[in-house]
Structures are given as structure tokens and as C-alpha cells.
Amino acid sequence: MEKILSRPKALKDFPLSYCPGCGHGIVHRLVAQAIDDLGIRERTIAVAPVGCAVFAYNYFNFDTTEAPHGRPPAVATGIKRTNPDKIVFTYQGDGDLAAIGTAETIHCANRGENITVIFINNANYGMTGGQMAPTTLLGQVTETTPFGRDPLREGYPINVCELLAGLKGTKYIERVSVCDAPNVMKAGKAIKKAFQNQVEGRGYSFIEVVSHCPVDWGKTPLEATKWVKDEMLKIFPLGIIKDETK
């Protein structure tokens, strides 16, 4: 028998700090696999967020820097403009990208920087213990919406992909999920495509991964993946939102 699937080289053999069943670990592996497949590990620079993925520099086996909360697109812009031959990507959660860093996100997309953005949407602020995020669903109970999110009080969940698709600077936008094995494989293809776009100089690529946060949602990992399928995907439909790379 021969080994057909194992840890990608771009992912260090280091214990992840994420809770059991967290979707972050799956996305880390998909990113690492895409970088291995494209053979770009020696020229990749990641920008980690503030949030659960704050320790990404411990996990990825390539250069990684850390940006203040919400600012990875600004830091990535600087790195990419001074090192245009490098492959630069940001890895951000919903609190980071859709709340605190909304301005940086929108202007980076609007400038059409040739970077890749990996956005993990798990409908809450995970690291701080499960408070409401802009992506929290209506009626969803979080630490700061104990009776469920009410649109009259907290507004509606933001569909970041559709928001960015309206900007002329964005070239490739896709929403994927890691709620089951077939979707994980599709997510892997989308992430690889987003990196391929940057290698070919096609411009700003954005991948939203609808992920699960079992511990902060108060669910088991299985219940959490089921909730993603049954509830989150109704609000955040999967698929290619925009593709101007052809």
C-alpha cells in the first residue's frame, strides 16, 4: 500500500490551538495544499488576522506576518506592491474582515490589488467567546444577542461576497463551505483557483468559506456542520459570485 493523502508540506507538524471540530483547521490544510500544488511555497507571504487564526504563523510553513485587527488587506497591499513577485494572501475571519476591517477590505478590493483573500465566515466572533458578528443570522443566539439577532436592533447579516462583487476592482469571488467532504473538495479547488489567479496576475480574488464554530454555537461538531447546511447556506448561498478572469 502506498500513502495517497497526508499533511501538505506547507502545513507544519504543529498542534493547532483550535477547538475540536473547528473549520479553521480544514481551511488551513486546503490553503497549504493549494500552495503545494502550485509550487509557490518559497515565494508565498501570508498575512494573519486578529481572531482565532492569530497564531497562523505557527502553522504555515512559509513566511507569515501579523496585522492589527481588520488591517490585513492594507498590510498585504504594502507587501505586494513592494514585492510584486511574491504571492500574498490574507486569512481573515468575519469579525476581522466584515466588521473592524470593513474600510480596508472594501478599498483594497476597489483598488483591485493582485492579492488573494481567504475569508472564514462562522457567523460570530469566535476567539472572544461567541459575540454577534456582522454575519450572524437573524434570530441566532450569541453572547451579545441572548434573545436572537433582531433586524430592528442589530440589522441584517452582511453578504460580503455580493457586496464586493459590485466593485469593479474585484475579479474572482466564490463562496464555498467545509460542512462535508464533497464541499471541502470544492473549497480546495476554489482556493487553488484564487491563488492561480494571483500567479497569473489576474487581480483581486476573494474566497468566502462558510465554516462552523461548534463550541461558541453550543453545538457538537456534527450538529454544527448540520446547522451550516440547514441554516447558514440559505442566507449565504454557495457558488461563483463573480468571475472576470477569463
Binding site: K3, L5, S6, P221
Partner: protein, 67 residues
């Protein structure tokens, strides 16, 4: 002939691989590992087809697939 191996010290016992297995050949250990979880084990090696669904779902990349 196919099989998987699980990194017993890293597995957090989340069960996503157990649920993802189409042949239902993965289960949990009776012992706990150093970090306090019942880790995943291949219970029925004969049924494993090496499809890699468990590998795809494992958040901690604990699983290696052989075929």
C-alpha cells in the same frame, strides 16, 4: 486494500471523520490520549476503501490514507 492511520496524540475526538466515512468503519478508542480525548480509530480495516473523506474532514490533519 486500503487503510488509514490516525495521529492518536493530536486527535481531538471531534467525530467529523466518523460521520464522513461512507463505510462507517471509523470509531472512537476506549482509551483517552494525553490531551484528554477519545481518539478516532479504524475499527474495520476490511471495509475501508481509502476514499479519503475522513482526511478531507479532519480539522487537525491527523489522518493519513493508504491505498
Amino acid at each position: 486494500m486500503a487503510k488509514i492511520t490516525v495521529n492518536q496524540e493530536r486527535c481531538k475526538g471531534c467525530g467529523l471523520c466518523v460521520n464522513a466515512c461512507p463505510k462507517k468503519c471509523i470509531g472512537f478508542s476506549s482509551e483517552i490520549n494525553k490531551i484528554g480525548y477519545h481518539y478516532a480509530v479504524l475499527k474495520n480495516e476490511e471495509a475501508c476503501v481509502g476514499c479519503g473523506s475522513c482526511y478531507q474532514m479532519c480539522p487537525d490533519t491527523c489522518i493519513e490514507v493508504y491505498r
